[in-house]
């Protein structure tokens, strides 16, 4: 049984038995990740009438997405998998959204804050661009692509993981997909006297 966790937008969890979705939980609150992650995991198990012992693998969304929230789900998935000695699969969020749309020629973008977007483009089921951070006007280069909202959730993460594992795609890199450096510059130090 696969437990999928994603906090790239809201806080969501999904439980799969093979290909079958047993239950899914989604809290929309874009800030309440730390508050909601526990209940999201507990409820998704409860609704499917399962316990943590039944879970045999964990899938998490590794971004790109606003990192403060994203890390909550990644941390929870990591510790859950570590505690039970389970394999953990990390999925690129935009890939998960694209897979759900088949082989269309699409550009998938999600809010990267600071008036920027996380962007990836796909053709015939292959990623042909990204993931990258772009300004909205830079999307013009994808004029002939259908533009798709990249909002993701745990169900999409789980479906991608199941699909990718069947094809032997490596999902073992569990680091967050940071597309920006921490937004700081070393301070030179200022004079205090004039």
């Amino acid at each position: 049984m696969l437990l999928a966790i994603d906090t790239s937008a809201g806080t969501s969890t999904a439980l799969f038995d093979g290909q079958t979705l047993l239950s899914a939980i989604e809290y929309d609150d874009p800030f309440g990740h730390a508050e909601n992650i526990g209940n999201a995991i507990a409820e998704v198990l409860h609704r499917a009438n399962q316990t943590a012992k039944a879970v045999t693998a964990v899938a998490i969304g590794r971004g790109p997405a606003p990192y403060t929230g994203l890390r909550v789900g990644m941390a929870a998935g990591t510790s859950f998998a570590t505690a039970l000695g389970l394999p953990m699969y990390s999925v690129m969020n935009l890939d998960a959204v694209a897979l759900s749309l088949g082989e269309a020629k699409i550009v998938v973008s999600s809010d990267a804050k600071r008036r920027e977007l996380f962007v990836a483009a796909y053709e015939l089921g292959e990623r042909v661009f990204g993931p990258a951070v772009l300004k909205p006007e830079e999307l013009e280069q994808f004029a002939d692509f259908e533009s798709v909202d990249g909002k993701c959730n745990a169900e999409l993460i789980g479906r991608y993981a199941i699909w990718a594992l069947e094809r032997g795609i490596d999902l073992s890199d569990s680091s967050a997909l940071y597309l920006r450096s921490p937004d700081v510059a070393p301070s030179a130090g200022k004079r205090v006297s004039s």
């Binding site: 526990g38 909550v72 941390a75 505690a83 301070s187």
Partner: protein
């Protein structure tokens, strides 16, 4: 009928009953008074409404063991299970204090008492021949083992990822990953850098702690996590990890206060924290003066910094002097070759400030004064001693910290001072604290350095106190509380 904790005020009625119960070998009023007022004892009386029974427990700090000192029920009140109730309450207290066993001795001819103790789980482990004189009756030594909870604690409030494991008050593991080096080029902790480091460190730190303790997750009875005060993004990683862990094995989860954790760390050194105590917590993020009357129920914030934390001041002054981050150890090293000859200002110590900010701190003005001093000398092309500046700055920080802490001890009549936080690594602070405390008859306690800096063990220790006291776990819905008040020991 009422169970009440006994104190010196009850001496007369306790002695009256004592002499009736043990006409041949009653304790003297002097030793009983000592027992009732000692900080390591817990005496409980039954009132109906006069005293009809009492019992006492002694727990020597750091021994992980409690002793039943005495127990007695008025002869006309026996056979009603009162002795059992007293014993159960003393055992509960021993559990709460972190004891791993309760010991007692009993007259070999007291079949009723022996049967009661056996029923409560005590086993005879030894015998002392002719212990009770003048009758020459043997004493049986009996022992009740207590299995204390194993608690895993997660700390991620700032730049240290900590996972600690304790059993009761016993330290089993304290694994730490610091992102300090990654912050050094920025001259201070960068929240996003810290949060990224926590996520990467959580798995290896957890595995290392379990390895150190030679335990698996199945052995853990409860999880504790610091949910504030601290950096929100950093806290959220620890909280996410804690919830994932708790749910994986269906363990109770306790959200605890990081600052109170610094005080709680002391239980790992000497068993239950002796209270009340003044606590001075000094780090890169905090400078707080607390009055702790009870670790779980009564922690009062007397004062804190109104601008920079003391550790932050060390970092900033280090930069002024061209020294790398973190500044504390650098300044300490440099100051060793200097003399504190420059009188830098002591923040919030003027009479007008002392009215409003008696226990508050301010280090921003001090930092500026140091910077001005250095700039003036540099502008004039004068040769100046960096070592003297470092020593003088350090002296100003140490002086104001300890003046206010000792004031608090005197004002509240509390003769204990506990130090915590990373700045405690400062040799001069420790030395001066020792000097001023002995001058003022104050007992100084400084946990070992690994328990003073941010660490997971102190979070586990505070969680363990909550479990031992029978507190309900937190809900699954708590979040990060960047500015969590020190009065809130647990977030439910």
């Amino acid at each position: 009928m009422e169970f009440l904790e006994l104190s010196k005020e009850h001496l007369t009625s306790v002695m009256d009953l004592e002499q009736r119960l043990f006409p041949q070998d009653a304790w003297s009023a002097v030793s009983m008074a000592g027992e009732l007022s000692a900080s390591h004892t817990f005496y409980l009386g039954i009132f109906a409404p006069e005293l009809i029974g009492y019992a006492g427990l002694a727990t020597v700090a750091g021994s992980f063991s409690s002793d039943i000192q005495t127990i007695g029920i008025a002869s006309d009140k026996r056979g009603n299970g009162l002795g059992r109730q007293l014993m159960q309450r003393l055992i509960a207290k021993a559990k709460e204090l972190g004891s791993e066993q309760v010991m007692l001795e009993v007259r070999a001819d007291n079949a009723v008492a022996i049967a009661l103790y056996k029923d409560l789980g005590f086993e005879q482990i030894d015998i002392r021949k002719r212990y009770y004189q003048p009758a020459g009756i043997d004493a049986l030594i009996m022992r009740l083992p207590i299995r204390q909870p194993i608690v895993l604690g997660i700390e991620s409030t700032c730049d240290e990822t900590g996972v600690g494991i304790v059993q009761g008050n016993r330290l089993l593991a304290n694994s730490l990953h610091s992102s300090m080096d990654e912050h050094s080029k920025y001259g201070g902790v960068v929240p996003e850098v810290a949060a990224r480091a926590h996520l990467e460190a959580i798995r290896p730190t957890l595995e290392k702690a379990l390895g150190e303790a030679k335990l698996t997750m199945q052995d853990i009875d409860a999880i504790a996590v610091a949910n504030g005060p601290g950096l929100a993004g950093a806290l959220m990683v620890g909280i996410g990890a804690a919830k994932g862990l708790a749910l994986a094995h269906n363990k109770p989860l306790y959200a605890v206060n990081h600052l109170v954790g610094h005080v709680g760390a002391d239980v790992l050194e000497r068993g239950a924290v002796e209270l009340p105590t003044i606590a001075l917590l000094v780090s890169g993020g905090h400078t707080s003066l607390l009055l702790v009357r009870h670790l779980l129920n009564d922690v009062e914030l007397l004062g804190e910094t109104i601008d920079d934390a003391a550790g932050e001041a060390f970092d900033k002054v280090a930069r002024v002097l061209g020294l790398p981050y973190p500044g504390g150890p650098q300044i300490d090293k440099l100051a060793a070759d200097g003399t504190a000859s420059i009188r830098f200002p002591r923040g919030l110590t003027l009479p007008k400030d002392m009215e409003k900010h008696r226990y508050d701190f301010s280090f921003s003005g001090l930092k500026t004064a140091v910077a001005r001093h250095v700039e003036k000398a540099q502008d004039a092309g004068e040769d100046f001693s960096k070592a003297d500046v470092a020593a003088s700055f350090r002296e100003a920080v140490v002086d104001v910290l300890l003046t206010k802490a000792i004031n608090a001890c005197k004002d509240f009549g509390v003769n204990r001072l506990l130090l915590g936080g990373g700045v405690v690594a400062n040799a001069r602070l420790r030395e001066e604290a020792q000097k001023r405390c002995s001058e003022n008859g104050i007992e100084l306690r400084i946990p070992r350095f690994q328990l003073c800096t941010d660490n997971g063990a102190m979070i586990a220790a505070l969680g363990s106190q909550l479990v031992m006291a029978g507190r309900a776990p937190s809900s699954l819905s708590f979040g990060s509380e960047s500015t969590l008040e020190v009065t809130q020991v647990q977030t439910l």
